[in-house]
Symmetry: C2
Subunit: 258 residues, 2 copies
Amino acid sequence: MDAEPGGTRRGVLRGAVTGALGAGLAVATGVSSPAVAATGGKDARLRVAVLLYDGITALDAVGPYEVLCRVPDVRVTMVARERGRVRTDTGELELVAERAMRDVRRADVLLVPGGSQRATVAMMEDTAVHEWIRHIHRHSTWTTSVCTGSLILGAAGLLRGLPATTYWASRPYLKELGATYTPGRFVEAGKIITAAGVSAGIDMGLHLAARLSDENVARAMQLAVEYDPDPPYDTGSPEKADEATETLALKLLADAAR
Amino acid sequence: MDAEPGGTRRGVLRGAVTGALGAGLAVATGVSSPAVAATGGKDARLRVAVLLYDGITALDAVGPYEVLCRVPDVRVTMVARERGRVRTDTGELELVAERAMRDVRRADVLLVPGGSQRATVAMMEDTAVHEWIRHIHRHSTWTTSVCTGSLILGAAGLLRGLPATTYWASRPYLKELGATYTPGRFVEAGKIITAAGVSAGIDMGLHLAARLSDENVARAMQLAVEYDPDPPYDTGSPEKADEATETLALKLLADAAR
């Protein structure tokens, strides 16, 4: 359990107290403001590039980001065709891409999130995106996806002959991309890791945290995001949900899609 | 399991196929473009207002958003002091607030995410924010928080005499705000629901989905985000993590804080 509360407001948010001190130190020593890190070429941290695009599913990107962004010596950067705002699949949220694809030629980790039907298909047909993905993949340590992001990796030709996973409703399509659907929250095949749908990116993020650092850091990040899941229902996969739930899920996805 | 793959690319992303049809229908009938819904006063949907602020933790906001944004007749809106970009606690991601606080005078659900030490303390000392929170709360059906967001609700005077939860490292502080720390991924007390740290917002989101609609919808949304958690470790709470993991988590939080 936690320590006793301190006497002051600043003293009682225990984790955050250290946080404030750490932030103060970074400012004092001029270390790694994110803007400097993103534009300068001297940043020695491992670079995780998350590909944003119009119609992505926000949690696909934000789940792994949240787990990886505090791993020591890791820098997460949001990348899109152009810098600036990217609207997610429901149209109710925008994320900001810090860098344009053409300005990012190397990344230690590439992460391709999934998106709506329309968005996924658009990315599966975008040869410029495929070229960028293949270029980054050539030099990456890990090339990863969440949800239908694996179909985009597949369309870029990266999954041929490999075991992989994807969003539950899209599993049958992996075969057409030359991959073999394999159950699991995430599937590692060589340097490619594909995660199942949406929230599975958090589980994959913890696995990646261990790969990029070590298991102690991964365990600490699980605690840092208090990932002790206890959903009030148990319908998180088609194997656990009944047919009515599956039908309703597909309808809700359809009704909210842009 | 899923249906057989269809013959065309568009035919095989099964959930998304319906999605594309649904989106087409919405365009054809001119129904509810998000921009119209956000600015017009004629939108009959339930309004979920998520308060963004400089230094928030992205997953605190995006977890519940992802679960709630597809609940029928629910509209999620990101709100901040001013419209526009809001930088998260690590500085590596920006979310966009669609509306300014002064332009949002009613919401059926208020959701206050947590943030870094600095950001949480700033919000705990911001009387203009407290006034806005109290005003929204007066008319809300549900007033909710994730992580250290409960300390902001508490600073606004909403938690006095109530059971509540918060981020694990901040539990001791609830007492100073007049609340009683109560274990759980989320704690419901009257119309106030507080969730534990970061990822607990997903669990609370499912509970809220049931409250705003029904349990069938909540179960369908759990499947829609494929929330069948299976983390590779089991250190998601201080009760499960050892002391070294806790110490390292606090250090990683500190090192990454702005």
